[in-house]
């Protein structure tokens, strides 16, 4: 539990109303988007300004209290959960767009700005913020920075790290540092690149300078319908190898299509398809985009697409995208619990890996729905289940482990955009050796020597070289 003096100090900084102590209030923050993990924070504090954030962090530093930064809580790795010995620092009230600079295509925002609201604010200038995770109507830019969030359109435009130019960061000891520069040149080593995706372990970003892009003038969205996952996967490789770079290239399998079509997000996907591909092309010139769309159409048909449909207008395009972006929500109807997985494989391995996932699902007698960023090879196998059924959680865990192992076996990795958090800790030693994990821990300790910010996430300490070689360290932690 958190010391009373700390709680009083927090109240003095942010006011009584913004320090949440009641169990029911804290329970609101006990999960993120991956509901299989749960932790009840000791205290929840919601500062309103950067100065309040600094004051809170300095107070916690003076008492040696661990804390966990959190945005909207839409993360999918159990990354923004705090235990009862830690303070949950919720940043959603820091939601101001501080500046939009159309001439240089830059914006400066606070961390609690909701992703889609930045694009809305930039739209009158003909600009947008490109990273568009499926949760963009509720997730925050600060959370996106912590997780290096992706989204369908990062196939062409890159993930969050490609769009963040400078950061004001409050370190664990309350010191404020300025990373990067508005132009994007690093100003020393690329610490912005190191900070983005560090899952809150390196401090709290209080001001974020991002790059904006021109809104494409021409857009074509195609929906292709395939009789097998393999042919759909092969079509993905063929499109990528053609040299055309779609803005997005997404795949949904039959199970996912059914979930969407049975929900309020029904998009008109063909129910009898084994898989559909959603392909978007964009650019400045309509005739050039149309020519590329025609080329993609031909490639898809050459790879056994049963039909290819082009959205006739913006409304139909939005409907097609709504089905994709709300697919996770639609799966909520299928079962009581859902594990949203995240892994990346080389694109040419997609057909084999999808078949392997199907085989694993069959063997464990589980329903696995695939909805994912096929153009990047970024898989999201989602396992629907009822956690109340005895033994089922264990089967889901075992199947998840086998899916991860299958992705690693073809040269893939264990997460492309959801992060490690708590959920993927156990897989880290499968892709990094003890020296590499120890090096990561070393970097973390440069930013946060006491390892108080979001403790216990990202790097599994037991797998680090220094741990495996230091019995005294193990004994000390065991005692703690």
């Amino acid at each position: 539990m958190i010391d009373r003096a700390v709680v009083n100090g927090l109240r003095q900084i942010v006011g009584d109303a913004h320090v949440r102590m009641a169990p029911a209030e804290r329970a609101t923050y006990s999960k993120d988007g991956l509901t299989t993990h749960e932790r009840l924070p000791g205290v929840v504090v919601l500062p309103d300004t950067r100065d309040e954030v600094i004051a809170v962090i300095r107070l916690l530093a003076s008492h040696g209290v661990p804390f966990v930064p959190r945005g909207a809580g839409t993360g999918l790795s159990g990354g923004a959960l705090a235990g009862d010995d830690a303070v949950l620092l919720v940043l959603t009230r820091l939601n101001r767009i501080l500046k939009i600079d159309p001439a240089n295509r830059r914006a400066i925002v606070e961390p609690g700005v909701v992703n889609v609201k930045l694009s809305a604010a930039a739209a009158p200038h003909g600009l947008l913020y490109a990273p568009d995770p499926s949760s963009q109507t509720s997730c925050t830019i600060g959370g996106n920075v912590a997780e290096n969030a992706g989204g369908p359109h990062c196939l062409k435009y890159g993930a969050t790290v490609n769009h963040v130019l400078a950061l004001e960061v409050v370190l664990a000891d309350g010191q404020v540092v300025q990373l990067g520069s508005p132009a994007g040149e690093a100003w020393g080593p690329d610490l912005v690149g190191v900070f983005v995706g560090s899952e809150g372990n390196f401090g709290v970003a209080t001001r974020i300078t991002v790059r904006l892009l021109p809104v494409p003038r021409a857009v074509r969205t195609l929906l292709a319908d395939f009789g097998s996952l393999r042919t759909a996967g092969e079509a993905v490789s063929a499109v990528i190898a053609s040299g055309i770079v779609p803005a997005a290239l997404e795949m949904m399998d039959q199970s996912c299509i059914s979930a969407v079509e049975d929900s309020v997000y029904a998009a008109g996907y063909p129910r009898d398809a084994a898989a559909v591909l959603l392909v978007e092309l964009d650019g400045r010139d309509d005739s050039a985009v149309q020519a590329e769309a025609a080329s993609v159409d031909t490639i898809l048909r050459q790879h056994e697409a049963r039909s290819v449909r082009t959205a006739s207008d913006a409304r139909e395009r939005e409907r097609l995208w709504q089905g994709r972006k709300k697919a996770f929500g639609a799966m909520g109807r299928v079962s009581r619990d859902l594990v949203v997985q995240d892994a990346v494989v080389p694109r040419s391995s997609l057909p084999d890996v999808l078949e392997k996932i199907g085989e694993i699902a069959g063997r464990y007698r589980l329903t696995v729905s695939n909805v994912f960023h096929a153009g990047d090879g970024n898989l999201h196998p989602n396992i629907s289940f009822d956690g109340r059924v005895p033994g089922l959680r264990e089967r889901v865990e075992a199947a998840s482990g086998e899916i991860m192992a299958a992705c690693i076996a073809v040269g893939g990795t264990i997460t492309g955009e959801h992060g490690i958090g708590l959920d993927k800790l156990r897989y880290m030693p499968l892709i990094f050796d003890a020296d590499s994990l120890a090096a990561m821990r070393g970097v973390r300790r440069v930013f946060d020597p006491g390892e108080r910010v979001n403790p216990g996430k990202v790097v599994p300490l037991h797998a680090c070289r220094e741990w495996t070689q230091a019995p005294s360290l193990r004994a000390a932690e065991g005692a703690a």
């Binding site: 001439a103 240089n104 990062c154 890159g158 790290v161 490609n162 404020v176 540092v177 520069s181 132009a183 994007g184 040149e185 690093a186 100003w187 020393g188 080593p189 690329d190 610490l191 690149g193 560090s198 003038r217 490789s237 990528i240 190898a241 040299g243 770079v245 650019g283 400045r284 010139d285 005739s287 020519a291 590329e292 080329s295 990346v344 494989v345 080389p346 694109r347 040419s348 990047d376 090879g377 040269g411 893939g412 990795t413 997460t415 492309g416 955009e417 992060g419 993927k424 880290m428 892709i431 990094f432 050796d433 020296d435 590499s436 090096a439 990561m440 070393g442 970097v443 440069v446 790097v459």
Partner: protein, 407 residues
């Protein structure tokens, strides 16, 4: 002699290059594998040797005081090219020219055109994050990296990232290495993100006064064209009588045709297209020019401050071998410069919140000025901490910071 014998015993007789000893007489060692690099640096730590890292020797002068020079030139393999995945894995000592040719044979392209000679090593480009004009359309060096393997100053072999298109597993140490100037280890292996070889690759140029060309580039920016490169060259750099604005278009034939039409519409049709061989020579000469004079530096400003920064750079350094990328705000200058002038320019730029990165210079100058010099608020201790983490005994001879700031 003692060190050379010790290294021969460690890595084999041919690891010490007999016929190409370093100018300052220190043994030049060429490990043939990442493990050999790790073994060498682990030994350097225990022996207390200071190590200078070299590539092909065409970019950074091989003059940092050291007990031995470690060259990556035998790490010159390309273990994998996967055209269907648009990825490749290459060792750090491969020359960019050889890599480019190998990739082209597979129909793929690394969209980087770094300054320097054609044989400059991939490791050098990554360590210094020296992107060329293609940065406009395809991003900086870091945007082409999927992962790196590197050896720390005390001999630990570290993997970062991977070889897939997206990866957020663990902290991103790849980006720490890109532009770290070797301060955090020796890059030995690089996983690259590629593009399909453009079906069409066009270069168009326009000559004129700097003011006129700046206005044209503003109009091009307003038209929202998709350009691979938009670069402004000073007359000596372009080897022309006047300034040159060069545009590169790369992609499918219809896309290039559309963008060329858009370019002509936005600029009043004044651009002249270069033949393929002329275009190749134009870009290559400009890139090579940055390796021929004693000092090269880059300045990263905002796009709308390019003119002001060009004035400042030219005023402070009094030379005109300069290029600018109006779309990204990046300026690269090369020439001869004193410590005082560089410090003065860096201070003037810092007031404008613009960083100056010293890309190459003789050791005494880079020791005095530092690749990075003064940092923004709070960054110095972080960089020092990272140096301590990755090179705890300061075995690697790298001039990260300026003398005047206690580096």
């Amino acid at each position: 002699v003692k060190i050379a014998e010790r290294v021969r015993a460690l890595l084999g007789r041919d690891a010490v290059l007999e016929d190409t000893g370093a100018p300052d007489g220190v043994p030049r060692v060429a490990p043939a594998s990442p493990d050999a690099v790790a073994l060498l640096l682990g030994t350097a730590r225990t022996e207390g040797w200071r190590v200078r890292v070299e590539g092909a020797g065409t970019w950074m002068p091989a003059d940092a005081p050291a007990d031995l020079a470690l060259t990556t030139r035998r790490l010159d393999r390309i273990p994998a090219v996967q055209p269907q995945d648009l990825t490749a894995t290459a060792e750090a000592g491969i020359g960019c020219d050889l890599l480019r040719q190998e990739l082209a044979d597979h129909g793929v392209w690394l969209a980087l055109d770094p300054p320097g000679l054609a044989g400059r090593t991939l490791g050098s480009v990554v360590a210094t994050a020296t992107a060329g004009p293609l940065r406009h359309g395809f991003g900086g060096v870091r945007d082409h990296l999927l992962g790196v393997t590197f050896v720390t100053g005390d001999g630990r072999l570290i993997q970062s990232g991977g070889r897939v298109m997206k990866n957020v597993a663990g902290y991103d140490l790849t980006r720490l290495q890109a532009g770290g100037f070797g301060a955090f280890g020796v890059i030995v292996l690089v996983h690259l993100r590629l593009r399909a070889l453009p079906r069409k690759d066009e270069t168009l140029i326009l000559e004129g006064s700097r003011e006129d060309l700046s206005r044209v580039s503003d109009e091009i920016a307003a038209a929202g064209l998709t350009l691979a490169a938009l670069e402004l060259f000073s007359p000596p750099l372009a080897r022309r009588d006047r300034w040159v604005l060069a545009v590169r278009l790369a992609g499918s034939a219809p896309l290039v045709a559309q963008e060329e039409a858009g370019l002509r519409a936005a600029s009043g049709g004044a651009f002249a297209a270069l033949r393929a061989e002329e275009a190749h020579a134009f870009w290559m000469r400009a890139a090579e020019a940055f390796a021929t004079r004693p000092v090269t530096l880059r300045v990263g400003g905002l796009p709308d401050s390019t003119d002001e920064l060009l004035d400042l750079v030219q005023h402070q350094l009094g030379d005109e071998w300069v290029s600018a990328s109006p779309g990204t705000g990046m300026i690269r200058w090369t020439g001869d410069a004193t410590v005082d002038r560089l410090r003065r320019l860096r201070r003037a730029l810092a007031i404008l919140e613009v960083p100056l990165t010293l890309e190459r210079a003789p050791w005494l100058l880079r020791r005095a000025v530092g690749h990075f010099g003064a940092y923004r608020e709070g960054v110095g201790p972080l960089v020092a901490g990272l140096r301590q983490t990755f090179d705890p005994t300061s075995a690697l001879a790298v001039a990260v910071e300026s003398d005047e700031h206690g580096g």
